[in-house]
Amino acid sequence: MQENKHVITMLVDNEPGVLARVVGLFGGRGFNIESLCVAETVTTGISRITIVTKANPPVVEQIEKQLNKLINIVKVRDLTHEDAVKREMALICVKASPEYRAEILRIVDIFRCKVVDVGLEHFIIEVTGDEGKLTALLNLLKPMGIKKIARTGTIALMREPK
């Protein structure tokens, strides 16, 4: 059966061990995690976890049900096919030798990202966007030489009705 990427978002009680329960569930049942983001919401005691997973439809159904079964999970939603905003952020440290500096800045401009650190031999570029944008940017920067990278993984939010 075809495995597809799914973006699953959930609200959880902000208690010790909750993340371990979620991650343990994925590990113990052989579900896959491509990326994972956790942070507090504005409601006291509630955090949001966003997980990107790759699975076939019956497995995705099990993932949602099993997550719902955990006592500390308030709400689970699969945003993959929903009208949702999905973004991730990356910090990319790219080699910036004199002959490439102008080219890198042109790319930064085209992708509307920011240079947040600069040195004689490098730029650190901050970029946000959907997965496609980050992949495209990385493909353009690879030939210059990427020294280091840190990515957040996807976060997502349903759009409000217009």
Binding site: D13, G17, G24, N68, I71, V74
Partner: protein, 562 residues
């Protein structure tokens, strides 16, 4: 009113109606024990913490009330893990209280420290580490509520020593509300009407019940449903007792060691109504062909059970009892009176299967057949005993040859298959039902896994009866080796065993032995009549196997019959 953590624990236990707990003291729970002895709660001192959890489990299965155990930190806590996993797999309501090192030492590798909430996270329904005495009452009440509601299960509460000693104001309001946990018992009526629609069309329906029926006290509604619709019934191992074993609609257990007619019925039915089951691999055999000719209805309280292993035509999320009661009402409303006529051909076919292969064995004059012992036990207890089992051949023969007429009568580790379960579980069942005859059907291998609990039974005056089917082998594994590994009996021979009669005597119990078929009845009579804990050692046929048998992964209708 100001109270210590230990006093709060006692107050909540009493508020929750706990009358018995199973445990083993230690440094981290010494303050809790000091309070415990001031209450009316009965404490049963086990000889190993695993025994405490299995006993609490047996207590819960026999009574329907949550089992409670109390153990110390570190090794006390880790020793509970097998018992907790056993209860988790079979959805048994239980609250396990573990001591923990004082909060300021947590994470320091202190003496007898272990991260028990971390260890038990995947095998509890939920667990808590209580860091403040202010949370203790709420946590304990939540623990009982979570253990008992929805799909039940074990909940662990880890209480650091300083929390047990700290003072706080006692809150006597037992109300709790867990925002993120609200089990749904009410089935969707639209779905139930679809089920009735399928029932009306079916020519070859089969009812398949499981442990969920027992847990939700649905046996009566289930029996009414089967009789009202004239539908033949099978159950999983966990469901035995949910339908009377003496009813003509009863087919026997389904699965790897199920009856011929139950497995054939599953393979040939056109409608399978599955209630409170989870389609375990020991039931379905090859999953792709299981009930291949049938539309499947699956009713269960736990949404994760539905469509986990099999695709179903009509899923119903709801309590087993609530759903069955609604279904019974719907069917009564419809006033269908031709079920007999419509199922006649099907019931005839099932009778033919029954005639083709009956559960049978050949009891000769010299060697005792294990099945014969259970047959006689059934006869002499008039089918009324609470039977616990160990795991392996003893368990399967008990399931096949003791015919259970009521729920909470058969107590066995189904999901996890825990050897050493039967004796402590029998002790727990006896504590819950002191007036019932409680018999542990054991093998000579598995009885030794928790044999130390003999001392518990004797000290606590819980006279359980242990029937050992002694074949000198780890019989179920030996059977697999015989059938699938060219009789290479790798490490399954136990040619040195203790003398179980002397062992019983050493524990202050009664030991009896039968080596010939004509001694079986006498030993059983004497053992059952005794008011002491008794080990009855039956020296049985060494290489007897359990049949029918569906080889692992084979189609359920492809059984080895002899």
């Amino acid at each position: 009113m100001e109270m210590t953590g230990a006093q709060i624990l006692m107050a909540v236990l009493e508020e929750q109606g706990v009358d018995t707990i199973f445990g083993f003291p230690g440094g981290a729970v010494i303050d809790i024990y000091d309070e415990l002895v001031k209450t009316d709660i009965r404490h049963i001192l086990v000889r190993h913490e695993q025994g405490a959890v299995h006993a609490a489990d047996g207590y819960a299965r026999a009574s329907g009330r949550p089992g409670v155990c109390l153990v110390t930190s570190g090794p006390g806590a880790t020793n509970t893990v097998t018992g907790i996993a056993t209860a988790y797999m079979d959805s048994i309501p239980m609250v396990v209280i573990t001591g923990q090192v004082p909060t300021h030492l947590i994470g320091n590798d202190a003496f007898q420290e272990v991260d028990i909430t971390g260890i038990t996270r995947p095998c509890t329904k939920h667990n808590y580490l209580v860091k403040s005495v202010d949370d203790l009452a709420r946590v304990l009440r939540e623990a009982f509520y979570i253990a008992m509601s929805g799909r039940p299960g074990p909940v662990l509460v880890d209480i650091p020593k300083d929390v047990a000693n700290a003072h706080t104001r006692w809150n006597d309001n037992p109300q709790i509300r867990i925002k993120s946990y609200q089990p749904n018992y009410k089935p969707n009526m639209k779905q139930l009407k679809k089920v009735v629609g399928l029932i009306k069309k079916a020519k070859r329906p089969l009812l398949f019940g499981g442990g969920g029926l027992i847990l939700s006290n649905a046996a009566e509604a289930f029996t009414e449903f089967a009789r009202q619709t004239r539908t033949p019934v099978t159950t999983s191992l966990m469901g035995l007792g949910a339908f009377p074993g003496s009813d003509p609609l009863w087919l026997g257990m389904i699965g790897m060691h199920g009856t011929y007619r139950a497995n054939m019925s599953a393979g040939n039915c056109d409608l399978l109504i599955a209630i409170g089951v989870r389609f375990d691999d020991r039931v379905t055999g090859k999953i792709d062909t299981f009930a291949g000719k049938a539309k499947i209805v699956h009713i269960d309280i736990d949404p994760t059970s539905i469509r986990k292993n099999v695709q179903v035509a009509v899923p119903v999320v709801g309590g087993c009892r609530e759903s069955l009661e609604k279904l019974n009402a719907l069917i009564a409303e419809e006033q269908i009176d031709n079920f007999d006529e419509r199922h006649q051909e099907w019931l005839q076919q099932i009778d033919e299967w029954k005639a083709q292969f009956r559960m049978a064995y050949d009891q000769g004059e010299t060697v005792i057949k294990p099945q014969f012992v259970i047959d006689k036990l059934f006869e002499l207890t008039k089918g009324q005993a609470i039977v616990t089992t160990e795991v392996g051949q003893n368990q399967m023969w008990a399931a096949q040859f003791y015919h259970f007429d009521g729920p909470r009568q058969f107590i066995t580790s189904g999901g996890l298959g825990t050897m050493g379960f039967g004796l402590p579980a029998a002790i727990g069942a006896k504590a819950a039902c002191p007036d019932r005859q409680v018999v542990d059907i054991a093998g000579d291998g598995s009885i030794q896994m928790n044999i130390q609990e003999m001392a518990t039974a004797v000290q606590s005056c819980l006279p359980v009866k242990i029937v050992i089917l002694n074949n000198g082998y780890l019989g179920m594994v030996r059977q697999w080796q015989e059938l699938f590994y060219d009789r290479r009996y790798a490490c399954t021979l136990m040619d040195h065993q203790p003398d179980f009669v002397k062992l019983a005597d050493a524990y202050g119990a009664l030991g009896l032995r039968a080596t010939r078929p004509d001694e079986v009845e006498k030993v059983l009579q004497e053992g059952l009549a005794s008011d002491r804990t008794v080990i009855m050692d039956f020296v049985v046929e060494k290489e007897e196997s359990v049949y029918p048998m569906v080889p692992a992964g084979a189609n359920i209708t492809e059984m080895l019959l002899v």
